[in-house]
């Protein structure tokens, strides 16, 4: 399971700070809706393609994959607008959507997940006022990323065990005999992980600022 859309390259686009890339993306979205004309959307699309393919040297396939995810939407937009308003409006709305999707894909493909997590932690800084600790948000993200392969592995193991016993239960029975117990199992696992983390000092209460210990061996 490939777990990131990041495409490593040594380009200037890759080296830009993640925060400014996200800001540029937001600005593009505002601009596209503020200047609702077909040429503006076309120019923006050309710009996004130039940045993605030429400046960042991303493979065409990366952008094609993201565009394919919305292909039915684009087609539906064209058809519906051709029937209800006119094809020009349809082309404009579809082009705008495609531009935004590709711009987001460029940001994602040129920015490491770690850098994005750091941006998330920084964006969470104002939430300190309502009691959110940014480091805890980072910890939650890290835990979720670690749990994903664990869950896949546990589900596979159960499937294999059932296959060995001659097939798996289906329908309502499977909910009660397979899925619910699996869920209980992983809830217990999450509980164990949290106790292990607390035992290593990840507790909710921030530790009091300790004065440097006078003896050299206690650190």
């Amino acid at each position: 399971m490939t777990l990131a859309l990041y495409v490593p390259r040594g380009s200037a686009v890759h080296r830009l700070p993640a925060g400014s890339k996200l800001l540029a993306l937001a600005a593009l979205a505002v601009m596209l809706f503020a200047l609702p004309t077909l040429p503006a959307a076309g120019a923006a699309l050309a710009g996004v393609l130039a940045v993605g393919l030429l400046a960042a040297r991303l493979p065409v396939a990366v952008l094609v994959r993201q565009a394919r995810a919305v292909r039915w939407w684009l087609l539906a937009l064209l058809v519906v607008h051709a029937l209800t308003t006119d094809w020009r409006t349809g082309a404009h709305v579809a082009l705008r959507l495609l531009t935004l999707v590709l711009a987001a894909a460029v940001v994602t493909a040129t920015t490491r997940v770690n850098a994005m997590v750091a941006v998330v932690e920084r964006l969470c800084a104002p939430l300190r006022l309502v009691g959110v600790r940014p480091a805890r948000v980072g910890l939650a993200i890290t835990m979720a990323l670690r749990f994903i392969p664990v869950l896949v592995e546990r589900a596979d193991r159960i499937r294999e065990a059932q296959a060995a016993r001659g097939g798996s239960p289906r329908g309502v029975r499977a909910l009660r005999t397979t899925i619910a117990p699996l869920l209980v199992q992983v809830l217990q696992m999450a509980h164990d992980v949290s106790e292990a983390l607390d035992a290593r000092g990840a507790d909710d209460v921030p530790p009091p600022r300790r004065r440097r210990s006078p003896t050299p061996e206690a650190s």
């Binding site: 399971m1 490939t2 990131a4 859309l5 993306l25 979205a29 993201q66 995810a69 039915w72 939407w73 539906a76 937009l77 519906v80 607008h81 209800t84 308003t85 409006t89 709305v93 959507l97 935004l100 999707v101 590709l102 987001a104 894909a105 994602t108 920015t111 997940v113 994005m116 997590v117 941006v119 998330v120 805890r136 910890l139 939650a140 993200i141 835990m143 979720a144 990323l145 749990f147 994903i148 896949v152 589900a155 909910l175 009660r176 899925i179 619910a180 117990p181 869920l183 209980v184 992983v186 809830l187 217990q188 696992m189 999450a190 509980h191 992980v193 949290s194 983390l197 607390d198 909710d204």
Partner: protein, 187 residues
């Protein structure tokens, strides 16, 4: 938030992600996925607060570039697309389901759970998703409703039942939601 609650939250974000790898059934532009099952489970197993945060965390994982949505979409693109409204509705859906589940915790059963899942996981999702679809895609109301809601309701009902049945078993064997405060002292 206790580390335990943080771990449960992260676990359900991961569960929603893994459910996205199950094959999706494509009906027109919006795929029918198992991910809304994860949203319903987050609310009905974890309750309002942790359920809400679990789904929010999942969306953060998608936004920072992991291809976790069904069909392998990820990054910021899905949040700008025509089906973005459904994504925004998910945390609210989990919160509503969680709130209803907490309210009915002492007499929770599959029927009550299913009702909670329908109100939060179907009514809330479409109340947010369909208007966003209409505006972003520039569709008339009736088209938006038929292509963005009606086709999914049968599948959603199955998921609402499945989530309630699972949550009912989990409630009896490993309850994560705390009992109401007045009862807590009696235990």
């Amino acid at each position: 938030m206790k580390t335990r609650d943080l771990a449960y939250t992260a676990l359900f974000a991961a569960i929603i992600a893994v459910l996205g790898t199950l094959p999706a059934i494509n009906v027109g532009p919006v795929p029918i996925t198992a991910q809304t099952l994860g949203v319903m489970l987050a609310g009905s197993v974890l309750g309002a607060r942790r359920g809400f945060l679990a789904v929010l965390l999942f969306l953060v994982l998608v936004a920072i570039g992991l291809p976790l949505l069904a069909s392998g979409a990820g990054g910021l693109a899905p949040f700008a697309g025509a089906s973005a409204g459904y994504l925004y509705s998910w945390p609210v859906a989990a919160a509503v389901i969680g709130w209803l589940t907490e309210r009915t915790w002492d007499r929770y059963n599959v029927a009550i759970g299913m009702l909670a899942n329908v109100l939060g996981g179907i009514v809330v999702v479409y109340a947010v998703g369909v208007p966003v679809l209409k505006v972003v895609a520039g569709l008339p109301w009736d088209t938006a409703f038929w292509s963005g809601a009606a086709v999914f309701v049968p599948g959603d009902l199955v998921k609402a039942f499945a989530a309630a049945a699972i949550a009912d078993v989990v409630r009896r064997s490993y309850p994560v939601i705390e009992r109401p405060r007045r009862a807590a002292g009696a235990r």
